[in-house]
Symmetry: C3
Subunit: 278 residues, 3 copies
């Protein structure tokens, strides 16, 4: 086993008050004291797989090649959901088979998918039912960071066997419909609709109608939220090149009252044919 | 002084908004730029010695040998409470003599207890009255991480001289009584009663009566909270093998309205002899 | 380009729930995997330049020589505010020209001020309008950490050209007036009045009158808040040797209802000539 100075990126919903993230780091450092550990965040929305998947999907490409992603958003811990190691051309993804890894790995060239089954590679003979982040996933990340091969952890799975979680959108006539993927702490609402789709269908400055949860809202397509007037709903590309709804120095979330997973549709319209709800 | 790449684990109640944790790290890195710093948490409950002691006690064994624990939960800063360096067989613990280190070091083989008195090893000639985490404790941790001997910091104390903080429990007839040690951000309630005691007295599936703050509650002894019904109080071992009260996808804290330090008693009972309060 | 193990200190208002801080770290580690990254905080008050400037000003001197400060409190992102690299005798400061760097660099010997203009040193050919922390500032910090010279990034600016943000105070007869610079998470209120000014004008134990937002309050000048009675307003030097208002185990902020930027005046008085408001 060669000691390499592995980059490990952690994403959890453990929060920052308790010692769960710290203990995961401890387990890693006991195996690889030289690991370079970065948090995507240790405070992802609890049990929220779509939000976690979005944070991973929008982050991972910025990390160095060979970074190991250790993702513990795991509401099914202790049940029979499978723990995974997924080796792609550029990265390694470790986490539960509940969809949280799916959008990221679906964008990568997959080399191998392993189900972690080898109990000799657990933290201890007796492990907890509640903290597999420490007992299984951190150990796997640390061992891989020092050169252990994924095959030792268990048998291969096929891509088709994985639990899916898709960031999809579709065009229906004049409408483009997608999903709300993430509401950030400013109240900006990111959707599954990519930049190009908006650019192909709308022009800067054009009014766009949003339909979500049986309500309709009018917003304006702008280059960045700095162009918005007070309280004006705006639509633009966010820093991850996804279509986002926001308000300049305000919270679009408070206005639209939405959450991750809600369906959202966009449609261009001309002034006059629109009755603004709320 | 040999430069070694020391592992330092930080536990503070400074919170994550201000720059207090960052400045402690700065002081460490000025002395040992190669230090490997991990946070147990930088956001422990303010002034709460039991909560801090629990987070340290349940974390420290997962860290690599020779890790230096820098613990600054220090409501008595600026008064005459003693700053300590405690060297054990496997670790070094640095922090105030207010009990926060006690449960951890009481489980370790103690080599030496030093009271930090040598003002030449403070950050500056004039130090603050309010930030000994920066001015005394971080300097000590950093110096020890590069090989400075604890003896240089001051005189030895005896174990008996330390301020105690015990995580105890007792059996009284059919009752087992302990203390509430920690309420985590999910609302799970960890107690001072260890796994074995529960296993010796109760069977999986059995109903258990909880008495706390003059109220009684019924709960069920299960392997993990995944087995609980909606709103059902459960009792199980947590990830640190301590007895914990929780609710599946809910908050036991909201139901029991308890906090760290409260006494809690458990008693087995058979259906029919129980009048459920609230 | 020599690979050096650079110290980078990050200060942002991105918050700890989203992946913005993590992605900035990713960009740094892709360029310099060995960078030593410390957070002053990743959770500074959103869009609050005075608070951010205070956290930087009070922190930076504790960091090792040659630390690179990467400061992204940037409400003007995407507009024409200038991105800066400021090399001083001891440090490098990187961030927007909106005043947030000003109090720190005004205390240092400035070697060179560069406006980042070279688009070849951006993260990509097309960059976002909303996330220059990732696309411009992190890249600059990482490149400088591996030895790239600031001159390559753009042309020099003069100190006089910078956007100013001054931490000033003045004496007017018996009054000393300054600004509120920071309210920390305990509710302590730090001002722009330095330690010496208070010491020259008041004696320990003396009563001091505070005037702020058209209200007057009485407080007592003490060595540390541990000397305060319940609910008593105290005035003392904080850990950064600035004059601070606090309450022992309480929140001065809740009592005075102030925020960063408010003017505050102090005046000594003798019992009897004071009518306490509220």
């Amino acid at each position: 086993m060669k000691r390499i100075s592995g980059q490990i990126a952690i994403l959890t919903d453990f929060g920052l008050n308790d010692n769960y993230n710290g203990v995961m780091e401890a387990v890693i450092r006991k195996i690889n004291p030289e690991a370079k550990i970065t948090y995507i965040t240790g405070n992802s929305k609890p049990f929220n797989l779509i939000a976690g998947a979005y944070l991973l999907y929008t982050s991972y490409k910025y990390f160095p090649k060979n970074t190991i992603f250790l993702v513990v958003i795991d509401p099914g811990v202790g049940t029979n959901r499978r723990p995974l190691i997924i080796k792609t051309k550029n990265y390694v993804f470790i986490g539960p088979d509940n969809g949280v890894l799916y959008p990221a790995i679906a964008s990568e060239k997959i080399i191998k998918i392993i189900e972690i089954q080898n109990e000799k590679l657990y933290l201890a003979k007796t492990i907890s039912n509640t903290f597999h982040g420490r007992d299984i996933f951190s150990v796997a990340a640390a061992l891989i960071s020092i050169g252990v091969e994924p095959d030792i952890f268990g048998n291969q799975l096929r891509y088709e066997d994985l639990t899916k979680l898709d960031f999809t959108y579709k065009s229906l006539g004049n409408e483009i419909c997608g999903k709300i993927l993430y509401v950030d702490h400013f109240g900006n609402i990111a959707t599954s609709i990519p930049k190009e789709v908006l650019l192909n269908n709308f022009k800067y400055g054009q009014n766009v109608e949003i339909k979500v949860n049986n309500s309709k809202y009018k917003c304006r397509f702008v280059k960045t939220f700095g162009y918005g007037m007070e309280n004006e709903l705006l639509i633009y590309f966010n820093g991850y090149f996804m279509v986002e709804i926001g308000i300049n120095k305000g919270s679009a979330k408070d206005k639209l009252n939405v959450r991750e997973g809600d369906e959202i549709c966009l449609e261009g319209y001309t002034q006059g044919d629109f009755s603004h709800s709320i």
